[in-house]
Symmetry: C2
C-alpha cells in the first residue's frame, strides 16, 4: 500500500519566469511555432495561457534543433536571461528538450498564425485543434472570466447556486421548440430554462442562481441562435419591484467588467476587446422604444407586440448616441408575448413587469417579476387555456406561500459575442450545436 498525501508536483509557470532570471529552469508546453533565422531560431512554446519565446542557438547548446517539430509536447530546459529587447524583459536560451509526444502529420488548417485563416465552418469542423490558436482560445478564457465574476458577485450577494435537472416532464415555456426524448418509455423533454426550478428554490433560499445548459429546438438558422447554450439564470425573492432585478444585473455587469479588466488583460489586449463602461444603464418602456425607433429612423411599426432584430439594433444606436451607453433596458413588454408566469403591470394588464437587456444591438437578457399569488397564477393559466393540474408541482410553491420575486436569464455565449463584438455566436461557443452541427 502506498500513501497519497496531496503532494502536488510544483512546476514553473510561464507567468513566474521573470522571477528566475539567471537560472536554468524547465518549462513544459507545446511547440507552437519554430522560426528559423540566420544562425539561430525562435522556438515558441504554448503554455496554459501564454506564448513563450525561446531562443535556440548552437552558441548556447549542443542539442540538435532538427529534433524539434511544431506541435510537439515538450519539457524544455533553458536559461532565463535578462533581455531588454524582449517585451517580457527576458529570453529563454534553450539548453535541451525532452520530447513527450509529437504530431503524426501537418495540421489540416494552419493554427499557429495570428489568426486561423479559414472560414467559420472550417474553424468549427476542426475545433479541437483550431482552439489551440492563441486568439481562439483567448475567447474562452474571457468566457471563463465572465463566469468566475458572475459567481463571485452572486455569492457575495447571498445567492445560492443550484443544479436543476435538464430532463423534465414538461416545458416551462411551452410551445413546440422543445427537444423530446424517450425516458424509459415515457416522453420527456430537455429543459428550455431552469425557470420552474429556480422559482421553487426562491421559496427555499430566497436568492438562487444556476449556470447550466439550456435547450431550444428552434429551427432558427441565424447568427445569434444556438440549440444548446449556457444560461446564466438568477432569481431573487422579497423584491418590491422588478427594477430591483435590473439594479442587480447592472451591478453584476459592473463587477464582470471590473473582474475582466483586472484579471484578463492579456486576453483583452490580444483580442482588442473594447470593454463597455457600465456606469448607468438607461431604461425605456417597450412602447416608447418602438416609437422612438420609428420616429428617429422614419420606419413603419409592423408589429406592436415585439421587436424586430433591426429595431433592437437601431434602438441601441440611438441610446449609444444619446447617452454613451452600450446597454439599454427595455421594460414593460406586452403580456401576450410574455410567459404565463409574468407579472402584469398594476392597472395595465396588457403589459408586464418585465424587461430585456440589449447590448450593442442584441438582446442578451430576459427578465421580470413573476406571479407569486396562487389564485392569480391559476387564473392566468386558465385564461391562457392551460391546465393547472399539469403544473401541480410547480403551483405547490404558490399554494404554500411564495414571496414576491423575479429574475432573469442571460445567454453566456451571446453575451460573450456582444462583448467581443463578433458577428456570429458560434465564434464564442466552444462546441456549437445548431440545426446543421452536432460534431465535434
Amino acid at each position: 500500500m502506498i500513501k497519497i498525501t496531496g503532494a502536488v508536483k510544483k512546476t514553473i509557470e510561464a507567468e513566474e519566469l521573470s522571477n528566475y532570471i539567471g537560472k536554468t529552469i524547465t518549462i513544459h508546453g507545446s511547440i507552437y511555432k519554430i522560426r528559423m533565422m540566420s544562425g539561430f531560431a525562435f522556438v515558441i512554446i504554448r503554455t496554459k495561457r501564454s506564448l513563450e519565446q525561446c531562443i535556440y542557438s548552437n552558441e548556447y547548446t549542443e542539442y540538435d534543433i532538427a529534433n524539434l517539430k511544431e506541435h510537439m509536447c515538450v519539457n524544455l530546459v533553458g536559461e532565463v536571461v535578462s533581455d531588454e529587447r524582449s517585451k517580457k524583459g527576458y529570453e529563454i536560451r534553450i539548453k535541451t528538450v525532452d520530447i513527450l509526444s509529437h504530431a503524426e502529420e501537418e495540421t489540416p488548417v494552419v493554427i499557429n498564425n495570428k489568426e486561423v485563416a479559414a472560414s467559420l465552418e472550417t474553424i468549427l469542423d476542426y475545433r479541437p485543434i483550431t482552439l489551440r490558436n492563441e486568439k481562439e482560445r483567448a475567447i474562452f478564457k474571457i468566457q471563463e472570466g465572465i463566469c468566475i465574476a458572475v459567481r463571485e458577485f452572486l455569492h457575495k450577494n447571498l445567492f445560492t447556486e443550484i443544479h436543476s435537472p435538464k430532463i423534465v416532464y414538461a416545458g416551462a415555456e411551452g410551445g413546440s421548440n422543445i427537444f423530446k426524448l424517450d425516458y424509459f418509455g415515457t416522453e420527456a423533454y430537455l429543459a428550455q430554462s431552469p425557470q420552474v426550478y429556480k422559482q421553487m428554490m426562491v421559496g427555499v433560499y430566497e436568492r438562487v442562481f444556476e449556470i447550466g445548459a439550456v435547450y431550444r429546438a428552434e429551427k432558427h438558422d441565424t447568427s445569434r441562435h444556438l440549440n444548446e447554450y449556457t444560461g446564466i439564470d438568477f432569481e431573487m425573492g422579497y423584491i418590491e419591484s422588478f427594477t430591483e432585478i435590473m439594479e442587480m444585473e447592472t451591478k453584476m455587469l459592473q463587477a464582470i467588467m471590473e473582474y475582466l479588466n483586472k484579471n484578463y488583460q492579456s486576453e483583452i489586449t490580444l483580442l482588442k476587446v473594447n470593454l463597455p463602461v457600465v456606469d448607468e444603464i438607461p431604461a425605456i418602456r417597450f412602447t416608447e422604444a418602438k416609437e422612438l425607433v420609428s420616429k428617429t429612423y422614419n420606419r413603419e411599426i409592423k408589429d406592436m407586440g415585439d421587436f424586430e432584430p433591426e429595431e433592437e439594433r437601431l434602438l441601441c444606436n440611438i441610446i449609444k448616441k444619446k447617452t454613451g451607453s452600450d446597454f439599454v433596458f427595455v421594460t414593460h413588454y406586452p403580456s401576450e408575448k410574455r410567459p404565463f408566469y409574468a407579472m402584469e403591470e398594476p392597472g395595465n394588464p396588457e403589459f408586464t413587469e418585465s424587461f430585456d437587456l440589449l447590448f450593442r444591438g442584441i438582446e442578451v437578457t430576459t427578465g421580470g417579476q413573476r406571479v407569486h399569488n396562487y389564485k392569480e397564477q391559476v387564473a392566468k393559466m386558465l385564461k391562457r387555456n392551460m391546465n393547472p393540474e399539469q403544473f401541480e408541482s410547480y403551483l405547490m410553491i404558490h399554494k404554500y406561500g411564495m414571496p414576491p420575486h423575479g429574475g432573469l436569464g442571460i445567454g453566456l455565449e451571446r453575451f460573450t459575442m456582444c462583448l467581443l463584438e463578433r458577428s456570429n455566436v458560434r465564434e464564442t461557443t466552444l462546441f456549437p450545436r445548431d440545426m446543421h452541427r452536432l460534431v465535434p
Copy 2:
C-alpha cells in the same frame, strides 16, 4: 427614460442582527413556525440561511398576532434586544408585521419540524416545499459549499473551466446506457460524460474542469444510481504518472473539507456532519484489494474483473480499521473493464493506469491516465472492434500532438451522500431523476 445605476437595495441579513442590538430593524422571511406560549408567542422567521426566533407579546406591541399564519412571507419590524438566555445573545421583539403573501392551505406534509417525518418518496413528491425544511435545505448548502471549494481549488491550480455540449453525436463510453433524442431528424445522444471534450481541451489549456450534467440511461434501480447527475470532471496534461491525478484529488479533498469547516459550520452542526480527516489516503492495487477482502472476510472471489458493491464496503472497513482513513484509492483496474482511452500499465497490458476512489464504502471517483499517442489509440480501438473513423474529431487531438494526460470524474450527489452518511443518493439530489421519477 430612467437610469439604472446598480444601486442594489440593502436589507439587514439575519447574520448581522447582533450588530443591531438596541435598534429597531426590519427583517424579511417566511414564518416558519408560530409557538403560542402563555402570555406570549415565538414567531420563527426562516431567512436565507437561518431561523430567527422573534418574540410576540402585547407588552411590546399593539399588533394583533391573529393576523399571522405559518408560511406567510413577511417584512417584520422588531427591536433587537440583548438577551443572555438566547443562544444568539439577542431576541427580536415584534413591533409590526407587513404581510407580503400567504399560504392558501395547510401544507400536505409538515415541513416545519426538526425533520420531515415522511417517507423519502413523499419528501421527493413534495420536494418544492419539503426543501423549505431547515435540515433538507442545509444538505444543498453543503453541496453548494463543495462546488465553491472545488472551483476555488481548481482555479488556484490553474485549471480552466469549460462548458461542453451535452447533446452529442456518439457516446464516449459506448454501450446501450445512453439516452437518445431526435435532433432535427438525426439521432443524437445525451452525453455520458464530458470525456472527449475535456481531453480536447487539455490540448488547448493543459488543465481543464467542468461541473455539469451527466446522463446515464442505466436501468439500475439502486440507492446509489441516478439517471441524471452532476459530474465534477477535471483533466490535466503533462503528467508523468497517474498518481499525480490522485495527488491532485487528495489535495482537492483537503481543500473541500477545510472550506466546509470554515464556511458551513451552521449546516455541519445542524446535520451533525462527520467531516472526514483527509490527511493521507492509502492506495492499493485492485488485485491486492480483491485478495485482501477475500482473505479478511473469508469470501470467495466471484469476478476478478470488478468489485461487487459489498466488496467495496468491506475494503473500506478494513482500511478504516487499519489506517483510520475514510477514503481509499484502488488502482490498476483490469483493462477489459476500462474504456478504450484508458492507458495500459507499462509491461502489464491486462491492467490500466487507472483508479477509483472509495469513500465510506462507496465509489465516488473514477480516473486514470489516457492514451495520448495517436497510433496507440487507433490500435487499441481496432483491437476492440471500434471504427476509428467514427471518432475522427476525437482522434484529431492525438493526431496533432497531445501531452500525456489524465483526469477523473466525481459524482457530486453521491459524494454528498457519503459525506453526510446518507443511505440513498436521492436524499442528496435536489430533484432526482431515476427510472420512476421525472417529477417534479
